[in-house]
């Protein structure tokens, strides 16, 4: 029990504490930001970070906090950046691949920094549950020189969100809050503290010596950013988020766990008492502190979600006297989420699992297009078309790449369908069909469409307008925005203005499979950039569209 009290010292408020609530990490971050007095929050939806701004939309007082769904992550970040440069507190949230889109603005904004606190919440997906890749945001922190914090549970997500704003203002730099799928969606008790007001005066500075980053300015700024790294690492180490638990056997300081984020929560749950623990709360963490921990042990186990980031550092420090165990050593899966079985195996050896009966192999349940959705007709039609190249895109329509249709040649990044179609057209492919949803088109499909028009490429763009960002839970798109102030976008006029040779709107339910097939076939006969505009509201997010759920379950 003594060990528990050391571990609990800083966070992990018990659920029975009066006033605590069981919240997801996303939810805790939303509350943390509100209680830190933010004036602005923006995001482009993406699992597992969608809920943060979803919750802020629900609970924030619009008179005090402006909450926005942005066109894409870059604009989300830039809007928040402006608010923070003007001295107020702002939050931008996105998934890990969203940061790729925002990275240009993010990396270039760090040296000059901000005045009011700016927190960039990034949701990583080490296991690629709903992402194309597993990228680890800590590499972006290495490039940017920003501060990064990684919570172990929801209480820490709340506390870190609040501390992030203070540190952002202290070091005049954006702070990244790294969540991973399981810290974002895992729910544990959170005790909120008294909210603070946050800065209230927005003043846009006229300070080109700082913000106009021509090379001479950049060099100076970068020097100052490097100088701040040391102090940042010291503050981080001295904070309550850094935890050290000595081994229960003082004579046997041989085994240690180096961990961060969820890795710490798992160590707390699974580690035998004779393992000592160093919990690293984020980056930059002092090299010397890592080196001391490595030197003090004969073996260390590194527990971190995502890439072998700390493990690499530990390996660089470790000499022959310390064995570093983890992903690189092959004892934990090389990438992805941490698995309890593997961690137990390190602690207890092979004998921990009792023999189990052989588990049945069961038919999988694949994600499916909703029954009454117009996509069925579109993909059935494409299936009947021969010799067609189908670069496609992210969103609900990606499901057309799965059985029973399997009509998509590939998916790359947001907007890539049209960009890849440009290359195909340049190589003279005559039957190119780029498939893209409306939200994705606004996000990153407009520049490649301009490229196609500029080069007079021959291609057909099948733009699937379901009136929402359906895959992530039905967030608004510009031409269907709930706010009449911002719904002035007319998709058809936009396509014409971009210079497309034609734009043919159609209703899949009226046209039917053969009608859609003929429409696509006919488009290949014509030269230039042809946009076929599917218009059919997503049923899942427009109540009353679908027939009531019918139960087809088989029972005795």
């Amino acid at each position: 029990m003594k060990m528990a009290s050391v571990l609990e010292r800083n966070h992990s408020a018990p659920a029975t504490a009066a006033g605590s609530e069981i919240l997801s990490g996303d939810h805790a971050v939303a509350w943390g930001a509100l209680d830190a007095g933010i004036a602005f929050a923006s995001s482009y939806p993406g699992t597992p970070a969608t809920d943060i701004v979803e919750i802020l939309h629900r609970v924030a007082d619009p008179a005090r906090v402006k909450v926005r769904w942005s066109i894409n992550e870059k604009v989300a970040y830039e809007s928040a950046l402006a608010v923070a440069i003007g001295g107020l507190r702002a939050l931008a949230a996105m998934k890990q691949v969203g940061l790729n889109v925002a990275s240009d603005a993010f990396l270039n904004s760090c040296p000059a920094g901000i005045n009011g606190g700016l927190v960039l919440v990034v949701g990583d997906e080490p296991e690629c549950h709903s992402s194309q890749n597993k990228q680890d945001t800590r590499w972006y922190r290495e490039m940017s020189g920003a501060l990064l914090l990684e919570p172990a549970d929801s209480q820490e997500a709340y506390d870190m969100a609040r501390a992030a704003f203070d540190w952002s203002e202290r070091f005049l730099i954006p702070v990244i809050l790294r969540l991973t799928t399981r810290t974002a969606y895992g729910c544990s008790p959170v005790l909120r503290r008294k909210p603070v007001k946050g800065p209230s005066v927005f003043a846009w500075p006229k300070n080109p010596e700082r913000f106009f980053i021509v090379p001479s300015v950049s060099r100076k700024l970068f020097k100052s950013l490097l100088e701040r790294q040391r102090e940042m690492s010291q503050v981080l180490e001295a904070s309550a988020f850094t935890l050290r638990k000595p081994s229960a056997h003082s004579a046997r300081r041989t085994s240690g766990i180096l961990c961060t984020g969820l890795g710490y929560a798992l160590a707390r749950e699974l580690a035998p008492p004779h393992w000592s623990i160093l919990k690293v709360p984020g980056e930059p963490f002092p090299e010397a502190a890592l080196a001391k921990f490595v030197r003090d042990h004969a073996e260390i186990l590194v527990l971190e979600e995502g890439d072998a980031f700390l493990e690499r550092k530990a390996r660089l420090i470790a000499s022959d006297t310390c064995r570093v165990r983890g992903r690189i050593s092959g004892e934990l899966t090389h990438f992805g989420e941490l698995h309890k079985e593997e961690i137990r195996h390190v602690f207890h050896g092979a004998a921990s699992d009792p023999t189990q009966p052989p588990w049945p192999t069961l038919p999988p349940r694949l994600p499916e297009i909703c029954k009454p959705c117009g996509y069925h007709k579109v993909f059935e039609a494409i299936k009947q078309i021969k010799d067609v190249a189908t670069p496609s895109d992210i969103g609900c329509n990606s499901l057309g790449g799965l059985p029973p249709y399997s009509v998509m040649d590939g998916v790359w990044a947001m907007g890539s369908s049209i960009g890849v179609a440009c290359g195909l057209a340049a190589m003279g492919h005559k039957r190119v069909l780029a498939i893209i949803g409306d939200s994705t088109f606004y996000h990153a499909g407009i520049p490649p469409l301009l490229e196609a028009v500029q080069n007079a490429y021959c291609m057909t763009v099948l733009l699937l307008d379901n009136g929402t960002a359906a895959m992530t839970g039905g967030q608004p798109v510009p031409h269907k925005s709930n706010d009449p102030q911002t719904s002035k976008v007319d998709l058809v006029r936009l396509i014409h203005a971009l210079g497309a040779d034609s734009c043919l709107p159609f209703d899949p339910h009226v046209l039917g499979v053969s009608g859609i097939r003929q429409l696509i076939e006919a488009s290949f006969e014509r030269s230039g950039v042809k946009v076929l505009l599917y218009r059919s509201q997503c049923g899942l997010y427009s109540p009353g569209y679908f027939p009531a759920r019918t139960e087809t379950s088989v029972s005795a």
Binding site: A15, S24, G186, Q356, P363
Partner: protein, 229 residues
């Protein structure tokens, strides 16, 4: 390890089913009830593509020591399944002496149904799949299968399906029934509480009547934990 006199160290429930069945709500109710008795309560909220016919899992864990919201292989004390196929899929998570409480019907995966439509008789094939699935489940010694669909019909409302199943599992949660009622009162809109508590009680009674096949965990508030009573 002698647990006979120590406090119950922790309890893990894995909920398995399909999108739209109300699994997340059940997880919230269990967690809220558990928070009345345990200092550390976690649950997960994984969703992914659940709207489009996918499988959904949620977990609730409660303990006297710090825990994570993650149930590893062989860690679940109880699998509560709202679809038999999904209960069977969750079996690797079950402890060697763990309990399974499951709806005895399945919704066959859509892609299979389509293949069956083309090649054979979907009704026949789905009945066969259901029987195979139930055979897997019946291999677990502590299993309780019941037709929650027809029980829900008895109450004239299919939507209470999930709370019937929670009722059926409530003997095994190691939580007093009153705490579940209290949590439902806190989390459900007031017009639905009475009906769902009725569903909970019906499920509880029905599984109680089949007690021969499964030994409930004793309910403990502050009493010691006796393993596998």
């Amino acid at each position: 390890m002698n647990l006979r006199n120590g406090p119950m160290p922790g309890f893990s429930v894995l909920l398995a089913g399909l999108g739209g069945q109300g699994i997340m709500l059940l997880a919230k109710v269990i967690a809220s009830a558990a928070a009345r008795h345990f200092p550390y309560v976690c649950r997960s909220e994984f969703r992914g593509l659940s709207q489009r016919g996918g499988a959904v899992q949620a977990c609730v864990r409660y303990s006297r020591k710090p825990i994570t919201a993650i149930i590893g292989v062989g860690e679940a004390d109880l699998v509560l399944g709202l679809d038999a196929l999904e209960s069977a899929r969750a079996l690797p998570a079950l402890k060697p002496n763990g309990r399974v409480v499951s709806h005895d019907g399945i919704l066959p995966p859509h892609h299979l149904w389509r293949t069956w439509q083309d090649t054979s008789d979907p009704e026949y094939e789905s009945t066969k799949l259901r029987e195979q699935t139930l055979a897997h489940l019946n291999r677990i010694s502590q299993v309780c299968l019941l037709d929650a669909g027809s029980l829900a019909q008895r109450l004239g409302n299919h939507r209470v399906f999930n709370f019937i199943m929670l009722g059926a599992a409530s003997h095994h949660l190691r939580l007093p029934a009153e705490s579940l009622h209290g949590a439902m009162g806190d989390l459900l809109s007031s017009t639905l509480v009475a009906l769902n508590i009725q569903a909970l009680k019906l499920g509880r009674r029905t599984s109680h009547e089949r007690r021969a096949s499964i030994t409930p965990f004793p309910v403990h508030e502050h009493t010691p934990w006796v393993r596998g009573a």
